[in-house]
Symmetry: C2
Subunit: 673 residues, 2 copies
């Protein structure tokens, strides 16, 4: 496929600006690659695609010293590694006569090339450059939640590009294109199967599937991504001959050692295992009265000789909670489980911790576990897939949400202990750390269902590379590459993107209380849907008020998991930020917010407003009808209409529910049913 | 299979009472059958099974006049039809020396034989008998909601006994046994596929499936049941070459005529079609701006030459209702649609009308449509499958509920116009009428999931035969045949059965308001589950009160569909029966019921009581541990524990929900969360 939808931000539109065209043409008349590897093959191929499309010319490859562009891995060129830059860093230096991209590794060189191509797509001059770049986060990873039957758990963009009908896809073109996209924004690792590992997927680590998985690994290798697999902790029983999966059992340890050796025979640079254990009915060490350090260390020992990693998800909670019991608090679970284990994990184990303590809600506080373990490697998990944020039907540009997380100051080592620094390994001396996210792609032509949701995949990569980038900067970069050069288009869509998360929050569950979604599906309102469930996700609304009391004095004590001053800030009704009020406190409907409004009036106002704002989005988008290609215009238009219906349902159900319960009328006397 | 679970009420336990044994042995030493048909083959076979099991002897077949038992169809014996009895009637006359079973048809003879076997199972003497029996209802039908993939819509007893993996089952033993059971309680018609006719099932009326369906028809024929098929109204498009299914289109009419002819080539006594049209997204005449008379008459014309029937379901409602709109009322739909069409239906069309205006809730008023059409054949539809009454996990003996329906006086032709008389065709001169029910069986070993749910299948048949039978009588009959002769067992289970519907109602949605169930699943509470849905099923609970106002003055006017004095009785808050109060009225929580309790206190009391009563059921059952066979004891024990958990969940969620909403404390200060 070679459509605008499909090409996402690698459109490589023809360059019409004559000056730039001449400049670029000149540079690409003589290009020298100093390097010889799968990655350099990818560099060559990508440049040929890009130059052909942008300039309708062939790259003039040369081996001579007078090349206009030189691309090299510093070690291949026998020059010193670029000083002050890590292994993945690169420089781009241009003096008008020659442009040099020098990476500290093949991968660094590749990233440099994509940087240059990005500049060209954004129509920037490349004659005078002095760029020095390196990623802030060592790990920049994607988790696919794809199943062998072709379905994608929490996938909203069609089916898997990896599997169909119980088999790995034969035609791997699309996997390669995915690798290109991921690499272009600096992603360096990927796990290719769902963290819920079902029966047949358990066999991924056997000869039945390893040859084909090795093929996929080799595709990603060419783009600098290491391949990981999600594994079933009970594999020794399920696919071995053992009767136990006890991590302290000698035969189990040996089984895994043999298994790992076998995997590395097929995939010499295999990344390692992603593990979801003891959560939502997945097996784990708890079955054997072992803890998660026992479980992960056992796997880590098997992987260590090969430099493999264990990525251990901290989404551990007792999903059999009883709604009658107000003292148990799912928000506490990850911290309560893992914090006491600090120091017990091997150096090649990395804990993967969701950004919030619950589960990717539209608004949550930052997980207090992040940074709370000084001697245990940590990665933060984000969700690009819009499970609770509109299923890629509703527009929700997530970068501003993630930016808030990154910039949150935990005070774990005094002021300035931001999440950004923690996951970058700058607060504690983590051996491994970084950011990982659940992918939002599938086999829809535009990859992401909603075309504008491509911005979230793009933005995740860019933010993982450099969390200091502004949301707006990222959006602009994406827009310039994705849509034709047109200031109106750019400004219109930029406005839409930047307003989208607040709009979604407006018509969703109010003030950080979360959930209120249709059970299982997680799209559309069902205010009591999870209220009497076993999932630990309650709002406790009664005729007087609502919210979850997580204070030290009268609640679950969750606030105690934060460092000061956050602890007091959240614990204290007067200082707790409005947007998280109901996450931390149970308050009367007439409680006055810092905004000056009562809680109930806030609910009414935001829900009426949210719907109106969606009408505004529709109006903005309609203005682009003649400017944009039909395919992408119609895709977004159709989604916006579905978003409108969703927003209307949220508005009316939330308002009616709380009016019926509180009996308090809307001050503005708008229609409530 | 030949287990106690499997054999339901045809246990044919060995007769231990010596006197009876001798008596029966004597009678069965010489048995003469005067008749030669598939049905007489079945009679022969059934007697051989029964006599072998009860008496461990072979039936002594004879052709001579000195037979001890003579079984005949009156016409075969060249005697007059038994006077005053309809075609399905029979007599059993015994003078000690000879016992004669004479049916007015083969079928009548078969029913007589099953009557005799029932008496023997109940250990009654058969020496002096003078029995005259005939069914009150001409139609006594079962609807299977089985799908070709083997699933059963709203099935709670395993998979289909008719289909598996997209095919009709090869081994039809179980179908034959099912025919035996149905016939033993007088069922004379069955439709064997789901009223929601999916893609592949649409082909049932083609050569692809007709040969095998003819085989099934012939099995049922042997037991006096006529076979019907549910059809897809859009068949002319789906499996024909037509571009329309418009019932007034000539080519459509011809297509159905040809189709019907083809079916009768395979099944000469084919019963006809069951049709669910224009409901819940099923196609129908509305698509062509035709009404339901047009739609059903077109099919009726095609079937008429073969004496085939069209059974047209009146479950028609606009399932896209908007919860915001309080003026639309799903309860009104069937009456509003069909009443104006009275007189326009062909004489071989029968309208199939659910017992209540909604959908088989634990408590509903009787549908005002039943009897409201004097010139249109009607059948009443009941649901043996416990869709809303506990999924055959919870014990719910439904006969008392159905008895209430049968004895309801509609006053449609003055006092005494009971439902019983209407569906029997005694009020209006219906050419066809009767009772039909959705089956509760599947391929679980005990057929019905919950072993005691067998009583509902048994009871439906008996009640369809004779609606005057008392619930308790039916239960006792079933018990004596199903469980070993033991007065304790009988009395204990009888108590359990007779108390079970009131218990279920106690912990369920209160006072006739209905629903409050988990969406789609229909098991377990979700009080707001359907409150903001499009299904027209609301309780409108707010902080002050609840219920649906269906009065003339301030509500939907649904009460107007009843005749006086029912109309006023329901419309008037003072005369509306407590158990239906919230079906007809929206009242404050502090409204005082006729019982003297407030609505809110009634809710608390019944829900606490319901749970305690389930504990009582468990206690009763546990007493039977040593008396009953292990298999059936354990089956029910396990179900009762699941029922307890369900009742607990209902109790706590309902009480908590209404306490949170009303703020009114329980007078007895019991635990509400």
């Amino acid at each position: 496929m070679d459509t605008k939808m499909y090409n996402m931000w690698l459109q490589y539109d023809s360059i019409n600006n004559q000056t730039l065209r001449e400049q670029y043409t000149e540079f690409f008349s003589k290009v020298r690659l100093i390097g010889n590897s799968e990655i350099f093959d990818s560099i060559k191929e990508e440049l040929e695609i890009a130059v052909d499309k942008m300039l309708q010319q062939k790259v003039g490859w040369t081996a001579s010293d007078d090349a206009k562009i030189v691309i090299a891995n510093s070690s291949d060129w026998n020059i010193k590694a670029v000083e002050g830059l890590n292994e993945e860093g690169y420089t781009i230096v241009s003096n008008g006569n020659q442009l040099k991209i020098i990476g500290n590794s093949d991968r660094g060189a590749l990233y440099g090339v994509f940087h240059l191509l990005r500049m060209m797509q954004m129509q920037e001059s490349i004659t005078t450059l002095s760029i020095k770049e390196q990623p802030t986060n060592p790990f920049r990873m994607i988790n696919q939640w794809d199943n062998l039957d072709g379905s994608v758990e929490r996938g909203y963009s069609g089916n898997s590009i990896f599997y169909e009908n119980g088999k790995i896809v034969e035609d791997k073109t699309r996997i390669k294109d995915y690798a290109r996209f991921l690499s272009s924004v600096g992603i360096n690792a990927i796990s290719i199967n769902n963290v819920n590992v079902w029966e047949e997927e358990t066999y991924f680590i056997t000869k039945k599937y390893l040859p084909e998985i090795a093929e996929i690994a080799s595709i990603f290798r060419g783009y600098g991504l290491q391949l990981y697999l999600s594994i079933n902790f009970a594999s020794p029983i399920a696919i071995g001959d053992l009767e136990t999966a006890d991590p302290l059992d000698g035969s189990v340890k040996n089984w895994w050692k043999d298994k790992v050796r076998e995997i590395y025979d097929f995939i010499p640079d295999f990344g390692g295992f992603v593990v979801k254990a003891d959560s939502e009915h997945r097996p784990g060490p708890f079955s054997y009265d072992r803890d998660h350090a026992d479980g992960s260390n056992m796997l880590a020992e098997a992987l260590e000789p090969f430099d493999g990693k264990v990525i251990w998800r901290c989404f551990v909670y007792n999903c059999l909670q009883d709604w009658r019991d107000r003292s148990t608090d799912r928000a506490r679970a990850a911290y309560d489980h893992f914090k006491p284990l600090d120091g017990r994990f091997h150096s090649n184990v990395i804990l993967q911790i969701k950004n919030g303590p619950m589960d990717f809600q539209v608004r949550e506080p930052v997980s207090p576990l992040i940074g709370a373990m000084s001697e245990t490697n940590q990665m933060m998990e984000l969700q690009i897939a819009q499970e609770y944020t509109g299923h890629q039907i509703d527009l929700c540009y997530l970068i501003p949400q993630w930016k808030e997380v990154f910039s949150f100051d935990t005070y774990i080592q005094g002021e300035g202990s931001t999440i950004e620094k923690i996951v970058a390994g700058q607060i504690h001396p983590y051996r491994h750390s970084g950011v990982v996210a659940v992918s939002n792609i599938g086999n829809d032509e535009n990859w992401t269902g909603h075309t504008l949701a491509q911005a979230n995949l793009y933005g995740f990569g860019r933010l993982a590379w450099n969390p200091s980038l502004e949301s707006e900067t990222i959006a602009k970069e994406w827009l310039k590459q994705t849509f034709p050069q047109n200031n109106d288009v750019e400004q219109t869509i930029l406005d839409m993107l930047m307003s989208s998360w607040p709009i979604y929050e407006n018509y969703n569950a109010p003030l950080g209380v979360g959930w209120m979604v249709t059970t299982h599906l997680h799209y559309g309102p069902s205010i009591d849907g999870y209220e009497y469930s076993r999932w630990g996700t309650y709002h406790f609304a009664d005729r007087d008020g609502m919210g979850v009391d997580r204070t030290k004095e009268t609640g679950t004590g969750y606030t105690e998991q934060y460092e000061e001053p956050n602890r007091s800030m959240y614990n204290n009704l007067d200082t707790c930020p409005d947007e998280l009020l109901l996450f931390f406190h149970h308050v009367p409907y007439k409680h006055t917010l810092k905004s000056g409004k009562t809680v109930i009036q806030h609910i009414y106002d935001t829900h009426f407003e949210g719907y109106e704002q969606v009408l505004g989005l529709q109006k903005k988008w309609d203005q682009l009808e003649r400017v944009l290609d039909e395919e992408r215009f119609n895709n977004v238009k159709e989604r916006l209409e579905r978003q409108r219906l969703n927003a209307r349902e949220w508005r009316d159900q939330i308002n009616t529910y709380f009016y019926r319960k509180s009996g308090i009328a809307d001050e503005k006397n708008r229609t409530i049913y």
